[in-house]
Amino acid sequence: MKRLLVAVAAVVLIVAAGLKARPTVVGPGAPASPREADKPRPTSLQAQRQGSASAASARDAAPVDLTGYWVSYVTENWRYRMVTPAKGEYRRIPASPAALPIIAAWDPAADERAGEQCKSYGAGAIMSVPGRLHITWQDANTLRIDIDAGRQTRLVRFTASAPLSGAPPTWQGESTGRWERVPAPDTGGSLSVVTTHLRAGYLRKNGVPYSERATVSEHFDVAPLPDRGQLLLVNTTVEDPVYLNGPYIVSPHFKKESDGSKWDPTPCSSTW
């Protein structure tokens, strides 16, 4: 009997050890206590060093710090981002046959008159629009990305939100975030974001469309730059069963800025 008890105790200890060793996973459905959100918080990296095994908020569990001001560094796709390309040019976008009449019919003045001047500022394109990001935590489980170009705001929720009942789609849609953490003893990780419930928009300023059925999947990664600088790489995949023949993948990048002194919100424009 004594041996049986010893064996049972050993099993309990081992299972407990296994649970403790399991990495913290934060994602949709991860519990978040409202009280925790009100407490003074250590920084995300402090929380990481403390190695809490409890169900931490997304803010506390962040394996990388994305907060702060970031500026577009337009070294790629310059001709498609810094200026409006010619009407009809959709080079490097796998546009479907259904997209071609829309591309051919693009009329920026008509968009402006219809109040659709933000069509090229939706989540399918906004990270490629030259501008600045201001990333903050709106609350313990919601990352807020303000964008000065077009005065847009994206909310990345780390908790599963209730499905919207008839709410109209929006330019920035509904974004769900999830940290992907590198297991100890290494540090670091990536932010994975999936966005749906989008209002139909443009992938490029010159009217290359995506539909309301589009899904935008992103990975936010940080890399060092010379002189202690930081680079934010946003790997973006747009999939659209209506207007794309395949995934459209781009990876715009941003430089970290020390403050918001160059923050310059400007309204959407379909003509510029």
Partner: protein, 315 residues
């Protein structure tokens, strides 16, 4: 006695399973949730370029968009005539390390392991016809002396960091960072980050050059894992392409490059952007040209794929 034996074996089995489970959960985690990014990923394999981003910037002879060049770099680039590459002695020079992401090809990456320890010694990116490939040494060896030989590929070491492969290249030979003749000096260094998310490999290149770049050249290029192996190993064999042995090296004298306005006129682009001035890389520049830029007219003839209407003209 028999029950004791059974209890001991069950306890031992559970203990082993529990420890194994704990170890696995520490290293990998619940992969279906996507909550864990592996410290290291499998990079070996064939990777096809996605082709959805414009990183080559070589469709016309004078295209320095997206670069922050020094005045010296600009002068040298404008003196470059791409006919140089038709000279017998230059046809097989190939391009430097940066061409891994600036070139049009995919990557075939293999692993070289120590036969005794089975530890990874290096990752090798196989060469193409006009690129010399790259070896990323992973065994902690130091970079050679600054006086050591500089080569097209340079010398590259790597390490795993934050779920990405980080690499650093030195000892590059003086050459070009773009096929349009934008120079890169032998003092340049390149930092790389290889990120893998699913079947997509993103290669981030940050090139610094104290001689020719005012700010780093940053390029991120996506590749997708290919089921079929890539093979670009056709040898470069020089052949007669026009210039005779002894002919002068093709070049343009200062202010004589006939293509300097081609891109400007075709796409209505500002000249300072085409010529690689630093300010053109930031959002403020977009606001600066807001009232002067006029989009080019739609293409009506010889538009090519997806409305790309660049047509080359003679000098």
């Amino acid at each position: 006695m028999f029950i004791d034996l059974v209890i001991r074996r069950v306890a031992l089995g559970v203990a082993i399973a529990g420890l194994a489970g704990a170890a696995v959960s520490t290293q990998v985690g619940p992969s279906e949730s996507g909550g864990v990014l592996p410290s290291r990923f499998e990079i070996a394999g064939s990777w096809n370029p996605l082709g959805t981003e414009d990183v080559q910037n070589d469709s016309v002879p004078v295209d320095y968009l997206g670069l922050a060049m020094t005045d010296e770099a600009r002068a040298r680039a404008l003196s470059y005539d791409e006919s140089q590459k038709s000279m017998l002695e230059r046809q097989c020079q190939g391009w430097g390390a940066a061409y891994a992401v600036l070139g049009p090809f995919g990557l075939r990456i293999s692993t070289e392991s120590d036969a005794t320890t089975n530890q990874v010694l290096a990752y090798t990116i196989d060469p193409w016809e006009d690129w010399n490939g790259m070896t990323i040494w992973m065994d902690g060896r130091p970079h050679p002396s600054e006086h050591a030989l500089h080569t097209q590929a340079g010398f590259t070491t790597g390490r795993w960091e934050g779920g990405a492969l980080a690499a650093h290249t030195t000892h590059v030979k003086a050459g070009f960072i773009r096929k349009t003749g934008v120079p890169l000096s032998d003092e340049a260094t390149i930092d790389w980050r290889f990120f893998r998310h699913g079947d997509v490999l993103t290669v981030l290149m940050v090139a610094r050059d104290p001689i020719y770049l005012v700010e780093p050249e940053v390029v991120s290029k996506g590749f997708r894992l290919s089921q079929a192996p890539l093979d670009y190993r056709d040898p470069c064999i020089p052949s007669f392409e026009g210039p005779e042995p002894g002919d002068p090296v093709p070049h343009y004298a200062p202010e004589q490059n006939p293509f300097v306005n081609e891109f400007v006129e075709l796409y209505h682009l500002p000249r300072e952007a085409v010529l690689g001035y630093r300010d053109t890389l930031y959002p403020e520049y977009r606001k600066k040209i807001k009232d002067t830029y006029v989009p080019p007219p739609p293409c009506t003839a010889d538009c090519g794929v997806a409305g790309n209407f660049v047509r080359r003209r003679g000098p």
